[in-house]
């Protein structure tokens, strides 16, 4: 390990989440509960996760819908307060700060949303949308200076400064996402939370946005938390990747390690679902089962009903995250006991299945 890496270990990372939890009360209204005799229902959307993101890096978070990855994003930017745990931005705990306490931190911490059609106020001109953070944080107060800054921001995301006069509906999905990025950059943040920023876009537009995000990261030294359900996108953009299942981080590792030597059976299942674009005729594992209802998750390891390696221990005891030599952290009894066969795929090799 190089000297720089040793030193940086003692520096505070850009972001560190520890024991982060968020529970939602999804019970029926009080009166209905009394009459129908239902118990309270608690959804453990995020159930105790730990990760760090060093400055200038990208942490990718993957998982299927309902696994809690979007809740993590919302916790970090303060849209939800955590039920437990801490979120440190360069060593300072920002979890559960009040709106006024949070104000100076928000300037350094911005978010890009999934739906380019819902994330811009349809009644506002683009220049007002992009200028909103500048005005809110009182970064500039001279109207001419704001206008120049907005123009520069639009150019930075490869839009025409004249586009500021238009309304969001005059733009395509990809252009709207650029506007969204320009707005996020307006307060000169250091950390961007990106919640599925390309999943509503066509692939060629997705490539443009991913390239833009990488360019911006290089130019401005940004740190990203990048959330997506698309494994290939996460592989492309991330330095380190975390896999979420039912509110827990089941595995995290450097991107390359995770994709070449996946440990957790769920990670392997996910990798098996990646379409075979190289047309190798690779055999795909029998992907079985569906994500259980997160309100009543299975006991023990929540993945055990879908796991081909589940034992009685898996059905009873919740696995703890276990750090491995190569930087991976895996929460799996099977991996801990060393009884899961190595290999990138769960699939038993068989004849490639193809029509015709």
């Amino acid at each position: 390990m190089s000297e720089a890496a040793v030193v940086s270990r003692f520096d505070a990372p850009m972001l560190r989440a520890q024991g982060l939890k968020r529970y939602f009360d999804v019970s029926a209204p009080w009166l209905n509960r009394i009459i129908e005799g239902q118990p309270r229902q608690i959804l453990k959307a995020v159930d105790g996760i730990d990760f760090e993101i060093p400055r200038g890096e990208t942490f990718g978070l993957v998982g299927e819908s309902g696994c809690g990855k979007s809740t993590v994003a919302r916790l970090i930017v303060g849209l939800h307060a955590p039920s437990a745990g801490s979120i440190e931005l360069e060593g300072r705990d920002i979890a559960g700060l009040s709106r006024t306490q949070m104000a100076p931190i928000r300037q350094r911490l911005q978010m890009i949303f999934q739906d380019p059609y819902a994330s811009l106020n349809p009644r506002w001109r683009v220049r007002d949308i992009v200028a909103e953070p500048i005005r809110a944080f009182k970064l500039l107060d001279d109207p001419a200076a704001i206008e120049r800054r907005v123009g520069a921001l639009l150019e930075q995301v490869k839009l025409n400064p004249k586009d500021g006069e238009k309304y969001p509906h005059e733009f395509s999905g990809g252009q709207r996402q650029r506007i969204s990025i320009a707005r996020a950059l307006a307060s000169e943040p250091e950390f961007l939370v990106c919640d599925e920023p390309t999943s509503a876009l066509d692939v060629s537009v997705q490539a443009q946005i991913l390239n833009l995000m990488k360019d911006l990261q290089r130019q401005l030294g940004l740190t990203y938390l990048f959330i997506s359900h698309n494994l290939a996108v996460v592989y492309h953009i991330s330095d380190r990747v975390g896999v979420m299942y039912l509110g827990k981080l089941v595995e995290q590792a450097p991107a390359k390690t995770l994709f070449t030597t996946p440990r957790h059976p769920y990670t392997r299942l996910l990798l098996d679902t990646i379409p075979d674009l190289d047309m190798t005729g690779r055999a795909r594992g029998p992907v079985a089962g569906e994500v259980p209802n997160p309100i009543t998750p299975p006991p023990g390891c929540t993945f055990h009903p879908r796991c081909p390696f589940a034992t009685d221990r898996c059905r009873a005891e919740i696995p703890r995250p276990l750090p491995l030599d190569d930087g991976a952290v895996v929460a799996c009894h099977g991996v801990e006991e060393g009884r899961i066969p190595a290999g990138p795929s769960l699939a038993v090799p068989e004849k490639p299945e193809r029509l015709g």
Binding site: R74, V77, G78, L79, R99, M102, A103, R106, L109, Q110, M111, F113, Q114, D115, A118, S119, L120, N121, P122, R123, E132, P133, A136, F137, P143, S180, R183, S187
Partner: protein
């Protein structure tokens, strides 16, 4: 710093004008204007409504007489029939009432009163309903529950009953405590506007609450939170402009309802005083003479009222369809 406000004013003013012109151009270029020009019925309704507005605004110049001016009335001219009937008088094309008032002028002035009270009540109901609906949908929780329970209680009574109730209470309270008689002048207007307005806010509130709850969950609102915008500013600057579409439709249809309610209250004798008659008052006055042959006193104001309400209703219907993307 000291000169900034002046600069701001000087740069803002033309911008506002520019925005307005721009907005106007977008309106005539937009789908709403297009669908207006494609519907003959709506265009007729629009023209009719426009005529009423012109009459109401410029009535004092258009009407041949001033029916409110007691001095100009001549009891000898009372109960004259319309001009085309035997005994009609060229000075009074639609005849006169029992006081000798020119019916045509009384209708023009009466439409003005009806429209004014209708408009004022709609604005009151709108401000009240939009405000409460916005708060209800945005804040949620107990605030929402309280506002919505009040709304539901009020909705379980007919609006006219609520209006009568508020009207009665206010008249009583004002007479008891202040010693003012509501039968006179502007106070009657105020009481009417309040009672019609307060009886009509529920629809606005429910609609706005619903749209607010939808908008509140959208990502642009969350983006504003992430920037750290104050919730009240978010409510006012982000959500309000996005929930006003359906309000316009409700307001148009409510205008027709408010005019009818005013006419009903005036007909029942708890509306505007007979000295400054609205359409409802005129119908009420004429009602006494309907069976004795002087039909014109009640029929002409009645037709005027019906046409106005129909035209406004048609406009409301069209607006609802034009603003509904599903029916476009």
């Amino acid at each position: 710093m000291a000169e900034t406000p002046i600069q701001r004013i000087s740069t803002e003013a033309p911008k506002v004008a520019g925005r307005f012109g721009d907005g106007l151009r977008r309106f005539f270029d937009g789908d709403i204007w297009y669908s207006f020009t494609r519907s003959p019925v709506t265009m007729v309704a629009g023209v009719v409504t426009l005529i009423y507005f012109v009459l109401a605004l410029f009535g004092s110049w258009i009407a041949p007489h001033n029916p409110f001016d007691m001095a100009s009335l001549n009891l000898l001219d009372s109960l004259l029939p319309p001009i085309w009937q035997e005994g009609g008088d060229a000075r009074y094309p639609l005849g006169t009432d029992d006081q000798g008032r020119d019916m045509l002028s009384a209708i023009i002035y009466g439409s003005r009163v009806s429209l004014f009270i209708g408009f004022a009540s709609v604005i009151l109901a709108m401000v009240l309903g939009v405000g409460l609906g916005l708060i209800s949908g945005f804040v949620g929780g107990t605030t929402d529950a309280i506002i919505m329970r009040i709304a539901e209680v009020q909705l379980s009574f007919p609006a006219i009953l609520i209006a009568l109730l508020i009207n009665g209470i206010m008249r009583g309270v004002l007479k008891e405590n202040v010693g003012m008689d509501v039968k006179q002048g502007d106070l009657a207007y105020t009481v009417l506007i309040l009672s019609i307005g307060v009886s009509g806010w529920v629809q606005y509130a429910r609609t706005v609450r619903g749209s607010t709850m939808v908008e509140r969950g959208k990502e642009y609102v969350q983006a504003a939170y992430v920037i750290g915008i104050h919730p009240i500013t978010i409510m006012w600057r982000h959500i309000l402009p996005n929930v006003t579409g359906p309000v316009l439709v409700i307001a148009t249809i409510h205008l027709a309802v408010a005019i009818i309610t005013e006419a009903t209250l005036s007909f029942l004798g708890v509306g505007v005083p007979p000295t400054e008659p609205s359409l409802g008052t005129l119908i009420s006055i004429g009602n006494d003479y309907l069976l004795s042959g002087e039909w014109w006193i009640t029929i002409f104001p009645g037709i005027t009222l019906a046409v106005l309400v129909l035209a406004v209703n048609l406009l409301g219907d069209w607006l609802r369809d034009a603003l509904n993307p599903k029916l476009r």
